[in-house]
Symmetry: C2
């Protein structure tokens, strides 16, 4: 058996692609992170290391098939017909993914019912696994990042929007229709702000990057005298963004500080809700907005613990993500390698 | 092997106990539902039928060991040394249960760190499984009641308090420290009503029976003219209870109807949050308060669906529990039978 396995063909690596040589047993996997503005592609080894990567603009105004065709062409062009020896392809998509690997709805991609798994599988001739990008990032952080070793884990990622993923009893839990982990759509305020999803009062509508910017704009309109720096930023090119609000808060602008304080309070509500109802042992927090708020994470953690049931909070770890922007790519690749073949 | 199994002693049934004869292969299990005011005991067959049952007052003012000793004596007295042929004992407890089967905190029992599993196991000489009572009720409804056949299920039970349980990928999910399913402690209102758990704004502090009664009292104080029936009830012996509020609402009292409407709205918020974050295929709603509100469950279901992500709500079933007050006893017995031995 062992000898047979050693002899099995693994494919050759095109040196020109910049892929470092790797062991035959390393079973690399291709990871693809489909976002609304860019698509990241990479070859990932079994230790979660990105051996080579590239990225493309998404140009979401094109039909989905054109986007997929360009991704396939890029993969082949960069890693050849043997896909750099990759045996599997894992994809994280900014959207809701059905358990059959089709994208049910990708708001930023403007995709509806795109059979991504079968499209890619047919062209790349490898087993393909498709999951939501925040689920992929959660899987990446769980296998190789800040969540290593946990049996039960919640990943929460805050960028322009809010996404999440759940590891339950040592497995990524996709949910009945693939949507588990959509913690951005916890209701944090009854009859509150309108969310992109159509509901009101969602976490995403308070702490997503878009929502922080909108809340800051409202705050400036209501009390311009209290936020001189925010007012300046609002009038500058680019206007108010989550990033500039966080920056102004660090520089002491009172109104920006208030917006940030409220943001953390909504996050604490949602996290306490999840800790109580799901009782994970580890919570991993990532994404651009979380990165910006990193100095405040310890106090956020204290608030979450204080608001959680003592039995649920005992032993709870709340940690910042450690893979940065590669988490979804790495996680998707690893998920595909480890997923049961269908 | 088969012959050996047939020969194995299964124990005799004391006819005087009222236990109906059952097949030797039926593997009955004893279920115990430890509540704050009463303890229900029963022998449950593998089809979830309660073959015989009894109940005791809890008298929670006694030390935990005295309560446990009385339960053990009752079991022996009723079903004999062979425990009516039961091979396992399953316990549901109103409280937070650690994964080792000890009761971390039982507020209504006034229990702290009671090693219930080992206490019972030593006395009854059977494998004992201890879980939270709402987890047990969820397991019962999943295996034998309204949730049969689901792979992913949320059970939500509203009585005096709110409890819940999660079935994930075809298994009861206990959580990292045994607390999964505490949906009563989702935050539904930021800086809202004080909850027994110490936090504020918990679902339990709005829709638990105790909270409905308190909210109705406040409503009566604020606008007595709008709730003539509530005012009468408040002055009557027994005063306002969740049950009397629901009754007054059915009889058209405007203030009671408002309290009930608000109760359902908080429930809808919490359920939409859970549907979005956990993506179950089935939600089972049970407990006394839910029973009282049963005519309103279809409209609750519609609101939950409307507030959930379309992909998470597609195919979602929201159904009333079907095992009534036996769900925790039946579920605990079945869980013990099916749980891996430790």
């Amino acid at each position: 058996m062992r000898a047979g396995r050693e002899r099995s063909p693994v494919g050759s690596v095109r040196r020109s692609s910049g892929v470092r040589p790797f062991q035959r047993r390393a079973l690399p996997s291709i990871g693809i992170d489909f976002g609304g503005t860019k698509i990241a592609l990479g070859i990932v080894d079994r230790h979660g290391r990105v051996l080579d990567s590239t990225r493309l603009p998404t140009q979401a105004e094109r039909p989905a098939t054109a986007v997929v065709d360009e991704v396939v062409a890029s993969v082949r062009d960069r890693w050849g017909e043997q896909l750099g020896g990759a045996k599997t392809v894992g994809v994280g998509v900014a959207g809701q993914v059905g358990r059959d690997g089709s994208v049910l709805f990708g708001p930023h991609l403007d995709w509806h019912d795109v059979p991504l798994r079968s499209l890619l599988g047919r062209s790349l001739r490898r087993p393909v696994a498709v999951i939501n990008d925040a689920q992929a990032a959660t899987f990446g952080e769980w296998r190789f990042g800040a969540g290593r070793g946990a049996e039960n884990l919640l990943g929460l990622f805050v960028g322009t929007g809010v996404g999440g993923g759940l590891v339950v009893d040592g497995r990524l839990y996709p949910g009945a229709t693939g949507c588990a982990g959509e913690v951005g759509h916890l209701t944090v305020k009854r009859s509150g702000r309108r969310c992109h999803c159509g509901n009101t009062g969602c976490l995403d509508a308070y702490v997503g990057g878009w929502a922080i910017a909108e809340r800051a704009k409202t705050a400036v309109r209501r009390a311009p005298g209290r936020g001189p720096l925010l007012v300046t930023l609002a009038g500058a090119p680019g206007g108010l963004t989550a990033e500039s609000v966080v920056r102004a808060s660090r520089r002491g602008d009172p109104l920006a500080k208030e917006v940030v304080r409220e943001t953390l309070s909504y996050l604490a509500d949602a996290l306490a809700s999840m800790v109580n109802s799901l009782n994970p042992e580890t919570v991993v927090l990532g994404g651009g907005v979380v990165e910006g708020l990193r100095p405040l994470l310890p106090s956020l953690g204290r608030e979450v613990r204080a608001r959680s049931l003592p039995a649920a909070a005992s032993g709870l770890r709340i940690v910042p993500a450690s893979l940065g922007s590669a988490s979804a790519l790495v996680g998707a690749a690893a998920f595909a390698r480890e997923a049961p073949r269908r």
